[in-house]
């Protein structure tokens, strides 16, 4: 099995930040982020509200709100997509990078048949003729597991269920054979059994097409089932990054450990749930020093002086904390 360092680098975020200008002042949604995504890799970005997980990638795709400003670099195969003009970005977006959202209706036009929406992608980005596009689109519908695709090809989005719509959006995203697929909470609004189907779909298709997958989620269960590597975000920064097995076995950052211990499981009885006190960070009023300090069970005096930087704790495992958990320490569960 090829190790990570042997695979080619696809996307590199260097010192990447996003600032929103509001009447109450500047809000830094993402601060100095560094991330490397390799070809064919599956990375999960975990975080809650205010973590900046969605904004990071909306920024790369050029989909930020008007008052948002990016800085730093986002190199897609060496080319800085942040520096591209809108016209050039249009060519990249949808073709080399595609994004799937939580609500499929953000990508689907309710007044167009899905056949048209699918073939449009192919005609624009890959220069297909209408006829060839239809054939390819129908084929993709089959691959995403839509039953009776010929009939459904001519339907409107509202005639299909939520799960179906999400599959179509995935089909649209993959039709252009992108190198990177970004999925922002794609299954959060779906039922459990449908979620499992869609996650399987992501798994199978990205492996088949060697597309790198960036899955943004708050659900550690989804992460465990899908990711190779995980980056945990809090208040606009990556606080921990590690291969998936390592992250679950040896969470170093107190936030990661707390998240782990705070979620119930369907397969085990949990006697005492760890409660993370306080609330998700308000980006307009961040504490001095470490962003997690108000809620951290291990907070000490030094934590509120200056923000911690990402430090390597083990091969490919880094965390931004002055007092990370040592490896294999049992987290005492106490509600």
């Amino acid at each position: 099995m090829t190790t990570n360092t042997e695979k080619e680098v696809l996307l590199q975020l260097k010192d990447y930040s996003i600032t929103f200008k509001t009447p109450e002042g500047d809000v830094k949604a993402v601060s100095n982020m560094n991330l490397t995504v390799r070809r064919g890799e599956r990375i999960a970005i975990v975080g809650e509200s205010g973590s900046g997980k969605s904004q990071t990638f909306l920024g790369i795709m050029g989909l930020l709100a008007k008052n948002g400003q990016t800085s730093g670099q986002a190199l897609l195969e060496g080319r800085d997509v942040l520096a591209l003009k809108p016209r050039e970005l249009d060519k990249v977006r949808g073709k080399d990078m595609a994004m799937v959202f939580q609500d499929p209706m953000t990508a689907l036009n309710p007044s167009l048949k899905i056949s048209r929406q699918l073939t449009e992608q192919l005609e624009i980005h890959r220069g297909f003729t209408a006829k060839a596009a239809s054939v390819e689109a129908l084929d993709m519908l089959k691959r995403v597991g839509i039953p009776d695709p010929e009939r459904r090809f001519n339907l409107y989005p509202h005639e299909l269920s939520g799960g179906m719509r999400q599959r179509i959006v995935i089909a649209m995203a993959l039709l252009t054979k992108p190198k990177l697929l970004i999925a922002d909470e794609p299954t959060t609004a779906l039922d459990v059994t449908i979620q499992a189907q869609i996650l399987d779909l992501f798994n199978d298709l990205t492996a088949e097409m060697n597309t790198a997958l960036l899955m943004i989620t708050h659900d550690l269960g989804v992460v465990a089932g899908l990711a190779d590597r995980v980056a945990v975000m809090y208040a606009g920064r990556i606080v921990e990054e590690a291969p998936v097995d390592e992250l679950f076995e040896n969470p170093a950052h107190p936030y990661t450990a707390a998240l782990h211990a705070a979620i119930p499981r369907p397969d085990q009885d949990v006697d005492d749930l760890v409660v993370i006190p306080g609330r998700p960070p308000n980006l307009q009023h961040l504490p001095k020093g470490c962003n997690f300090s108000p809620r951290c069970p291990k907070v000490q005096d030094g934590c509120i002086d200056r923000p911690p930087q990402l430090e390597t704790l083990a091969p490919q495992h880094c965390a931004a904390c002055f007092h990370p958990f040592p490896r294999r320490e049992e987290l005492l569960t106490h509600a």
Binding site: P277, G278, N282, Q284, H285, P287, S293, P294, R295, C296, K298, V299, Q300, D301, I304
Partner: protein, 305 residues
């Protein structure tokens, strides 16, 4: 040194304070008023309206002449500074300025009273009809539909003919017709409100239906009702002016802006001031109310939250 939980709580509390949360709650109405004050057109209009109201109700005490006594020395005279007839006089020698101010007073009174009547009746009627639904709603709304179908002007004229030209009747007639639209709007809003979760929560708390209407539904109608009322006032003034113009409005010697405009139109060629001044006042009144109404609608827009 590990921070003890007390110190960590202090940190959290400091953060809360830094967010600037004050003990007094920020109600939605206060938010809306703040937004309204940022709207320049609305603020200017509120100033203009205030001036007009002050002029109409206090002005007559400060000007040299009154509205009904003819000035034997100055018939049909154009506006002049020396004899105190700042707006000139009409064919009967009465001071136009005083008459315009009085006319504005009557127009405003009619409009506000009629609006109040229409709001009270319309809101109660629409809320009850919308909340209870079913057959009651059908009957109540059919009644409204029938009333709508009646030819409005003929109806008013009929009332005038039967009961004579009485200012109070004018209020009643106009109010009696404006409540219909208010009722429809309120019913529509109620229909959507009654399915909201907080209304269901009130039912789950055992609250009686009439109490739900008064405590939950009507307060949440404030936005649309205020906006509609603010936009109805100019419509009522215009209607009253129209009726008075036709000769169905207030009786002599009382006057309204409509009556004045009517007289002014007749004498337009010889005595243009008789038309210009009342018309300017009417336009100023209507425009300021319209801008305020528009501003209110923007201010109450929930999307801004």
């Amino acid at each position: 040194m590990i921070l003890n939980p007390a110190k960590r709580e202090l940190l959290a509390a400091e953060l809360l304070e830094a967010e600037g949360l004050s003990p007094e709650g920020r109600s939605l109405t206060k938010d809306a008023m703040r937004r309204l004050c940022r709207n320049k057109a609305a603020v200017v209009s509120m100033v203009v309206l205030t001036l007009l109201i002050l002029a109409a109700f206090l002005g007559p005490y400060f000007i040299p002449h009154n509205y009904e006594d003819p000035d034997w020395a100055a018939f049909r005279s154009p506006p002049s500074w020396e004899d105190g007839h700042y707006f000139g006089t009409d064919p009967n020698g009465r001071d136009l300025l005083a008459r315009v101010l009085y006319g504005t007073r009557v127009s405003l009174a009619v409009a506000f009273v009629a609006t109040l009547v229409s709001v009270v009746i319309g809101v109660l009627y629409g809320a009850i009809s919308g909340y209870f639904g079913g057959r009651l709603d059908s009957i109540m709304m059919r009644f409204v539909d029938i009333m709508y179908a009646l030819p409005y002007i003929l109806f008013v004229i009929l009332l005038m003919v039967i009961f004579g030209r009485n200012v109070y009747l004018l209020f009643a007639a106009i109010g009696a017709l404006e409540w219909l639209t208010m009722a429809r709007i309120v019913r529509g809003q109620t229909l959507s409100l009654k399915h909201r979760e907080f209304v269901e929560a009130a039912r789950a708390s055992g609250q009686k239906p009439l109490k739900i209407i008064t405590k939950h539904i009507i307060p949440n109608l404030v936005g649309p009702v205020v906006i509609f009322a603010a936009l109805t006032v100019p419509e009522i003034i215009a209607t009253e002016s129209f009726l008075s113009y036709l000769g169905f409005g207030v009786q002599e010697p009382l006057t309204s802006l409509g009556t004045l405009i009517s007289e002014g139109t007749n004498a337009m060629e010889n005595m243009p001031w008789l038309l210009i001044f009342p018309a300017t006042f009417l336009v100023a009144l209507l425009l300021s109310l319209l801008f305020i109404g528009d501003g209110l609608r923007d201010a109450f827009d929930p999307k801004d939250r």
